[in-house]
Symmetry: D2
């Protein structure tokens, strides 16, 4: 088994289909173990108190899992998030990037499930974790 899309293919997909936010994200790695995605933390992602905002963390986890699914099934733009359960465990640093490690735990015919750990770059302990479910449109898992 190999990935359908590697890091370069995922980055190109982001640029084409999510132009608005693509510049925030850098795909660091995409293999069968999952995807590592970087959020380039800038002022727009921060909150008073010098930390990364909740929506920015949610968005990073969501995009990382989306790309981890696409790396397996190919460029299906229509998978939609149906559920996200997220634990916010530590305050992310405002002065370094945020890295998401996403892995796919189930790739079914209609649902894909996975989880994500978020780390402030250079930190050993995760700042947040998330479990996410995506609905996959009919036929998306067939040959593309």
């Amino acid at each position: 088994m190999t990935v359908q899309m590697d890091a370069a293919a995922l980055q190109a997909f982001l640029l084409r289909d999510f132009g608005q936010v693509a510049a925030d994200f850098q795909v660091e790695r995409a293999d069968l173990a999952g995807v590592t995605l970087r959020l380039r933390v800038t002022a727009q992602h921060l909150r008073p108190g010098g930390t990364v905002s909740g929506p920015a963390m949610f968005g990073l986890a969501d995009v990382a899992m989306y790309l981890a699914i696409l790396s397996r099934i190919g460029p299906v733009a229509l998978a939609v998030t149906t559920n996200c359960a997220m634990d916010f465990m530590r305050k992310p640093r405002a002065d370094v990037d945020l890295l998401a490690q996403a892995r796919v735990l189930k790739l079914g015919r209609t649902l894909a499930v996975g989880d994500v750990l978020l780390f402030s770059e250079g930190g050993a302990e995760p700042v947040a974790r998330a479990g996410l479910t995506y609905a996959i449109p009919p036929k998306a898992t067939g040959p593309n």
Copy 2:
């Protein structure tokens, strides 16, 4: 029992402590049953395909619950989200505002728990729901 902060007090709090995003939000109602918060949907909240983005929905739910807790305990800027479990059920409309109805289910000494329903304005069916937990800093629930 009465609320410690009404809609006007919550709106003033948002402006002072969350200047960056305060303009996006309008507190519509704040009473013992909870808080209704409006997200003024603009281009920055949209995603390709003509819908409101996941991070924008998450942010709305998070701020609505935060304000619902503050309306009960007063202006404590330090409560932090520790958990959010969210179901995305329907595609929000891109051309109307999004309304959050938040209610507090538990207000403990160290944890507050509540849930939120999100509606596209004028819609009868919720587009998303969330359960959220906040950690409350020591003494925050005492007299302010």
Copy 3:
């Protein structure tokens, strides 16, 4: 719109398809607003410390939502729980029954989503809340 199965029909369904646990549960109400289900709390549901166990609360929430979905779509024995996010807020009483109030928030072609509040009988405050998602097998939502 009316329910496909009322309280008596749901109770009969439980007895036939879930004989093992049916005696624990009593359907109190089933209408378009949702289902109220009683767990007859006995020694087997308790934990040291005089409270209802987590698995017993989970099971009650899960069965209540399952019945709430069936009341809408008819006796489809194959819907399966895909996700449950549960907040445990207060210690349930060991000496009274536990009541679940379940409501369906979305009834889609392949997924159903709802939430549940659990109360110790006679208590004003919920002891737990849950959001649940069920996968519905193909054709289950068509005419039965």
Copy 4:
């Protein structure tokens, strides 16, 4: 850093404080990476259709995480589950035991957070995953 309680100490703790259910569980491993807990699957854990029930899976995940926390902080009987978000991904086998792999992601002063994967013994793919939060009573994390 070492664990405060190893597999044998955790098993003894289960027997003493959870006599009612201790016989269902076998602690297979307890080290800094986490805890592996076996559920001896018997008829009482099964559901019609030949699979392990949801409450049995929930209970296994909950006990596994509880023991993973205790292995770090010592025999504190009072930590309580405040949140559990669980994805049910595959049907567990009825004819083999269920194994939980729990890891602690955060061990704070008042909250502990971790996640759990459940496997049917011998299976390569997880049947379920859970994220759990525990409230730790004051002083529990200090010297015991």
